[in-house]
Structures are given as structure tokens and as C-alpha cells.
């Protein structure tokens, strides 16, 4: 299982990469491995306002569907439309295949998330 040290992580197995006020959101290697071959990603509409823990989108494999939760509050300003045609990109490189970008309403929420080491421990406890 691959964990990238300088990303932030949420309990729903989402990763967050903060660039200024923008947060890139994706799902972790652990999550993609649990799901198996990903066949479809339901992306949010740009402009949608979300509170932290709202459902941001859905990721589907053949036999499972898993919601992606917004790790932070804000507005969807960009989505990775490449995933519509090639959902397998998430299996290939989950930390490259981001799902959406949230313009954060409150940057301090990032502090509630786990860092790499904490997330690794979290996964071990779950497994």
C-alpha cells in the first residue's frame, strides 16, 4: 500500500493536496485496491457547494459502489473529466488521478485531516 507523506488524508480514504486555497481530492491507493477494477466515476457538477463530509461523487467497481466524501468545505471549481472515459486511471495511479478540486471555504479544516503516518496507522487498524 502506497501512502504519500506530504498529502493529507480523510477517514473515507480520500487524499487532499492543498495548493493555496485549492484542494485537489482523490482516493487513496488503499481505497482503489479495496474496490478493485474501477469502472465508473460519477463526478460532481462544477459550482456545487459542499460541506465537509457531504457526498462529492461516487466510484464504482463491478460489484461495489463507494461514495467519495468531501474532506473539506467549499465549492467544486474543477473536475477531472478524463475519468469519465478512463476510470481505470485511478487504479493505475490513484495519487495522480485526482477527482475534483474544491475551492476551500475555510482553510483551517485541513488541520482536522490525517497526515501520511497517521493515515498509514489508520489503515492498519481498519484491516
Amino acid at each position: 500500500m502506497k501512502v504519500i507523506e506530504d498529502l493529507k488524508y480523510a477517514k473515507g480514504h480520500e487524499w487532499v493536496k492543498v495548493e493555496g486555497n485549492r484542494a485537489y481530492i482523490g482516493i487513496t491507493d488503499f481505497a482503489q485496491d479495496e474496490l478493485g477494477d474501477i469502472v465508473f466515476v460519477e463526478l460532481p457538477d462544477v459550482g456545487t457547494n459542499l460541506d465537509a463530509d457531504d457526498i462529492l461523487g461516487t466510484i464504482e467497481s463491478v460489484k461495489a459502489a463507494s461514495d467519495i466524501y468531501a474532506p473539506v468545505s467549499g465549492t467544486i471549481v474543477e473536475v477531472n473529466s478524463e475519468l469519465e472515459e478512463s476510470p481505470e486511471l485511478i487504479n493505475e495511479d490513484p495519487y495522480e488521478a485526482w477527482v475534483a478540486v474544491i475551492e476551500m471555504a475555510d482553510g483551517s479544516e485541513v488541520a482536522n485531516l490525517m497526515d501520511g503516518a497517521e493515515y498509514e496507522k489508520f489503515c492498519k487498524e481498519e484491516a
Binding site: 465508473f40 460519477e42 463491478v62 460489484k63 461495489a64 459502489a65
Partner: protein, 449 residues
């Protein structure tokens, strides 16, 4: 000893002994005594095969049926011809004693048939994609309404007054607990009143639901209705008679977002109302919101084409309470009948069925008008069904016709109190000139009394 249970009492005794029990009773220890039924069920039977057949034939013959009577009833169920070969194919026990094709390697017969069915429904409706079928036309409309509400995140639906009354009732039943409000639009000249529609629709309307040819047999102006719906970003749901689609422009070409309907007319007998089969088709955009089973094409481990159930994450066994619908099965055998029917009739045959129905319906319509006893309820183009008004009591008409071996039309007053004296007649390709003339003649006799 039942002829359906192979293990004899001796065999069962041995089996019990082998697993360490002395009586079958010991296997039921987990059932509390208080809830055990300490008596024999009080039901008829057992009956030997000959006795059963005699008894059931007796019941069957106390029905008056299309084998002996000429049927002019429609109103959602139609007496179309079913080619002989169809019954033989769907009686293959490999089809009817199998179940939902969970194991594709040993279910390719059912899966390929559904794939062919989905294709045919797309061809008829002009839509991109179709599911493996629904319970019937009514539940297909109701599920389409729920799907439109989920897709638009809106909770108001407008249904045409000319939609089959039972479809309306089922739609209310499904919509109410979801907090979806269903408002019925009136009708004008037997069709959707475009002005009322424009006044009733707003930016909270999830969908407009119409039927064409509608319950009165009238062909609706789909294109105009679609325009109004789409201006308000509402979806257009169209319920349609599949036979009519051999002649009429497919709803998909006219802007429909979801096309549903009752598939009974395509190779399924009247059967006192069931089993029937609802078809359900939509656009590529809405594909993943469809309820029900869907079959898709894929390949096996060595590259052969094969078929599987697909897009299953929409469904209850994966999403549980978040599923697009609770539907678990389709009406596979009835959908197979549809597939075989459309294969046998083909492009030309279905056209001929539709055209003969159209021609004959107009023949009977004109003949009845010529008697001077009837006037049309609506002046609008119709397909195989039409509504007439008369001063003779419909009950009397129908009971006299019955004496002459004719099952008469549907009294519109049953569902539309404002249409007292309205009589809805359906004419399929099965009706002959002789049968239609006999109906007209009998009516002449009633009027002359």
C-alpha cells in the same frame, strides 16, 4: 407420496440416520412450540392429474374468452395475433425453468435474448439504451417518474389526463412516499392541452408524462410537448403502444427522455391482465439512472463475444437502500416473447400489423358513425382505438353484444365521469370485416328495438 418428490420414505429414513437423527421432527427443534401448527392445513387437495385437469378445465370454461368471442376491448391490453412458433420457443424448458442469469457462462441463452430485446426496444423507440424489462407498463411509468425526479433533483411531475388511468394510479402510489407531487393535466380534444401545460409547468417540474397513442387512442403532438418540457429543463416521459411505432415517428426522434410502455401486445396473450412486460428506454446521458437489470456485451477469456448483467452498482443487491429501484427481476420470459415476436414479424410484419390495425379501426369507426347512432368524442387522429359517444346505454350495448358473441368496448365513464356515454373500441389486425360488420349490425338491431 408425491410424484414431484423423488426421495421415498425409506430413503429419507436412511438419510436421517446417516446424519444422526431418528426423526424429521428433530430438525424442527428451533421452532418454538408456541408457534407450531398443531393441526393439518385446511385446504383442498391432493388431486391427481386427471382430476385436476378436469376441474381446471371446468373453471376455464366458465370464462367467456377470445377463442369463442370477438374482442373489441382494449384500454391497455390488446388482442393481437401471436404466431404459432412463438409459443413453441418460449415453452423450451431451458428458458422457462432457469432464473436470473447470475452465472453468465451457463445463461447465454437468456442473456443474448435480453441483449436482442434491448436492441429491438431501442430500434422501436428511437432511444439509445433500454433495460431488460419491468413488471408492466404501469410500473414502468411509475419508475420513470422516480428516475426523472432523481435525475433532475426536482419533485413535481405533470401527468397527462389522457394517460392510462391505471398507470396514473400506480404512479401516485409510487410517488407519494417519495414526496413527489403528481398533478394531472386536463385534456382538450382528447389530447394534452398545450396551454394548460405551459401554465402548469415551471422550473421545479421534474417531468411531463404523456401517452401516445393515448388512452383515448389519440396520437399526441410529441414535438410540441417536448419543446415545452425542455424549455423548463423538465424531462419528457412518453408511454407508447409499441405496435404503433412501426408507423409513427419514434419518441426518441421527437425529444423524449424516457420512453416506456406495455409490451403485452408484442406476442403476449391477454391472460386476464398478466403476466405482461413493461419496456423502459432512455438516453445515453440517463443510462446509469435506469432501474432494473441491464445486459451488456463483453468477451470471454479467449475473446469470444458473450453477454453479462452489467451496470449492477445501480441495483439493490449492491446499493441496498441507495439503489435506483428495488426491482430485482425482470419479466424475462415475456421479454423473450417480445423478442421472438419481433423476430418473426420483423420489420415488414410489424408494419403490416400496425397498418391493418389502423385501417380496420378507421373502417369500424366510419361504419359506426354512418349508423347515425354515434358521434366521435374527439376529432383527432387516432391509431387503433377510438372513442364514440352514444345515447344508448353502454351497459346495454355491451350486454347485447355479448349475447351475440361480441365483447364490446370500454365504458369511458368508469375512469372519466365527465365522459358519460363514451365508448372506447379497439380494433387489431385480428378482427375481420365480417366480425366488424356483425358488431355494426347487432347495434343497428338494438337501436331499432
Amino acid at each position: 407420496m408425491s410424484n414431484y418428490i423423488p426421495n421415498t420414505e425409506d430413503v429419507k429414513k436412511n438419510m436421517l440416520a446417516e446424519i444422526g437423527y431418528s426423526s424429521i421432527e428433530e430438525l424442527f427443534v428451533d421452532i418454538p412450540d408456541r408457534v407450531r401448527l398443531e393441526r393439518k392445513l385446511n385446504i383442498k387437495g391432493p388431486m391427481a392429474e386427471m382430476d385436476l385437469m378436469r376441474y381446471m378445465k371446468g373453471l376455464a370454461s366458465s370464462n367467456k374468452h377470445g377463442g369463442e368471442y370477438t374482442c373489441f376491448l382494449g384500454a391497455g391490453a390488446y388482442d393481437h395475433y401471436i404466431p404459432s412458433a412463438l409459443g413453441h420457443i418460449i415453452s423450451r424448458t431451458e428458458f422457462y425453468t432457469s432464473y436470473t442469469p447470475y452465472q453468465p457462462e451457463i445463461s447465454q441463452g437468456t442473456l443474448q435474448a435480453i441483449f436482442e430485446y434491448q436492441t429491438m426496444i431501442c430500434e422501436l423507440t428511437g432511444m439509445d439504451t433500454a433495460n431488460a424489462s419491468m413488471y408492466d407498463g404501469a410500473t414502468a411509468v411509475a419508475e420513470a417518474i422516480l428516475m426523472a425526479c432523481q435525475a433532475t433533483r426536482r419533485e413535481k411531475v405533470l401527468v397527462a389526463g389522457s394517460l392510462n388511468p391505471e398507470y396514473k394510479q400506480v404512479s401516485y402510489t409510487y410517488a407519494r412516499p417519495q414526496g413527489v407531487s403528481v398533478t394531472e393535466l386536463g385534456y382538450k380534444d382528447g389530447s394534452v392541452d398545450l396551454n394548460t401545460l405551459e401554465q402548469s409547468i415551471d422550473n421545479e417540474t421534474a417531468a411531463v408524462v404523456i401517452q401516445t397513442p393515448n388512452f383515448f387512442g389519440v396520437i399526441e403532438d410529441l414535438e410540441s410537448i417536448a419543446g415545452i418540457a425542455h424549455q423548463n429543463k423538465a424531462l419528457l416521459i412518453v408511454s407508447v403502444d409499441p405496435i404503433s411505432l412501426a408507423l409513427l415517428k419514434p419518441p426518441g426522434e421527437l425529444g423524449a427522455d424516457i420512453v416506456v410502455g406495455e409490451g403485452q401486445a408484442l406476442g403476449n396473450p391477454l391472460n386476464f391482465g398478466g403476466p405482461y412486460v413493461g419496456f423502459f428506454a432512455t438516453t445515453k446521458k440517463l443510462m446509469r439512472r435506469m432501474p432494473g437489470r441491464i445486459v451488456g456485451e463483453t468477451t470471454d477469456n479467449v475473446g469470444n463475444r458473450g453477454f453479462v448483467l452489467t451496470l449492477q452498482t445501480r441495483e439493490q443487491h449492491i446499493r441496498r437502500e441507495k439503489a435506483t429501484s428495488n426491482i430485482c427481476t425482470n419479466q424475462a420470459l415475456n421479454a423473450l416473447a417480445v423478442t421472438v415476436y419481433l423476430s418473426l414479424m420483423g420489420r415488414e410484419g410489424l408494419g403490416e400489423v400496425a397498418e391493418q390495425s389502423l385501417q380496420k379501426a378507421h373502417y369500424l369507426h366510419d361504419k359506426l358513425i354512418d349508423t347515425g347512432l354515434f358521434t366521435p368524442v374527439f376529432k383527432a387522429p387516432f391509431f387503433k382505438e377510438f372513442a364514440l359517444k352514444t345515447t344508448i346505454s353502454i351497459e346495454k350495448l355491451n350486454s347485447r353484444l355479448l349475447e351475440k358473441g361480441i365483447i364490446g368496448g370500454y365504458p369511458l365513464e368508469k375512469a372519466y365521469p365527465d365522459l358519460k356515454g363514451g365508448w372506447l373500441l379497439a380494433v387489431t389486425e385480428k378482427r375481420t370485416r365480417q366480425e366488424m360488420d356483425a358488431l355494426v349490425e347487432t347495434i343497428g338491431g338494438i337501436a331499432n328495438e
